[in-house]
Symmetry: C2
Subunit: 200 residues, 2 copies
């Protein structure tokens, strides 16, 4: 069995959302599974000195245009959220907590959270919104609400983010195939080609 693909993303990243709608099917076409790994880009931006794309002069307004256009091209609902960017602590903690208890629910939860934020303009940085989204797919609202403030759950996310930074992950989406890194939703065609050919 070939190694799974690592799919790093920030729940606040619109290009991460776009990639999330395709990564599993791309991997599956080549007999690979995908490990979804939400991270917090805020920690990374401190190292790279970068700012959220949409806040940069000129680049920011282009990015909004590019995202709307890419959303149509991907054929997925996309609306720039009213509040952007957000700190994705709550949804990310929820993801790892759910995955540790019920792995089959983890990706559906991530997809539902991404959709809530980028298609329905719901502020998933609000723990209540995150627990509502999770409850819809069968996660216990009460247990999750409690878990979001649990020290071990906080530590779990921190460990994941630290490991990602250690590995050189600096953006979202960031996809690693057998140690080969690809940054950006616009690298999905290269990801597919790499899987198909084994590299070039």
């Amino acid at each position: 069995m070939a190694n799974p693909i690592d799919f790093y993303f920030d729940f606040s990243s619109p290009y991460g959302y776009l990639a999330s709608t395709r990564i599993d099917e791309i991997a599956a076409r080549h007999g690979r599974s995908v490990v979804w790994r939400p991270i917090l880009l805020g920690a990374v931006f401190k190292i790279t000195g970068q700012q959220p794309l949409t806040t940069i002069p000129l680049k920011g307004s282009y990015a909004k245009h590019d995202l709307a256009r890419a959303g149509r091209l991907f054929g997925v609902p996309f609306k720039m959220p009213t509040r952007f960017p957000i700190g994705a602590t709550a949804p990310s903690r929820a993801f790892y907590w759910v995955r540790d208890r019920d792995p089959a629910l983890a990706v559906p939860l991530a997809q539902a959270l991404f959709r809530a934020y980028f298609a329905e303009d719901r502020d998933i940085s609000n723990p209540e919104v995150t627990t509502n989204v999770a409850a819809k797919i069968g996660v216990s609202r009460e247990e999750l609400a409690q878990a979001l403030n649990d020290a071990a759950v906080k530590e779990r996310l921190k460990t994941e983010v630290d490991a990602a930074v250690e590995r050189g992950v600096f953006g979202s989406p960031y996809i690693i195939i057998d140690n080969e890194p690809f940054w950006g939703a616009d690298r999905l065609d290269q990801v597919e080609k790499w899987l198909e050919t084994g590299g070039w």
Copy 2:
């Protein structure tokens, strides 16, 4: 006749070089011509507060890896220049001066300059190197050397850069099809699709 496509680039931009190897054939497939428009990104970076990609922590080393990989994918010679980035004043002035006098030589000159810098590691920011490259394709070395210090030629480039900034150009390559902007060599597939479909 459909409008020509505007192809903005900085001679110091490796992704600009990659795009330059394909833009004319992509446009030609859809009955379009291309206006090549060298600019100086330094002026733009002052506005956007950005730095050259390769100098940014984490992102920089990824960029070098990505460029080498993209060069192989594009099937063109590519070697990260020893001196990078450079101020592309000399090659850019040369380009506009040549285009104003002999339009047919302009694109071959741009291609030769890009190749000199990104395939042969020659520092085209040095006016002597630029004039040597130009001489090889039939431009008068003496006249060009003189032109590079001519006030009108300097002003010509400045006007082009100012107009690009005015139009919102902030990166390289930056391609505009009938007012629709595409930033990055990784948007060439969307450029092609836009030409094919008229937009989506």
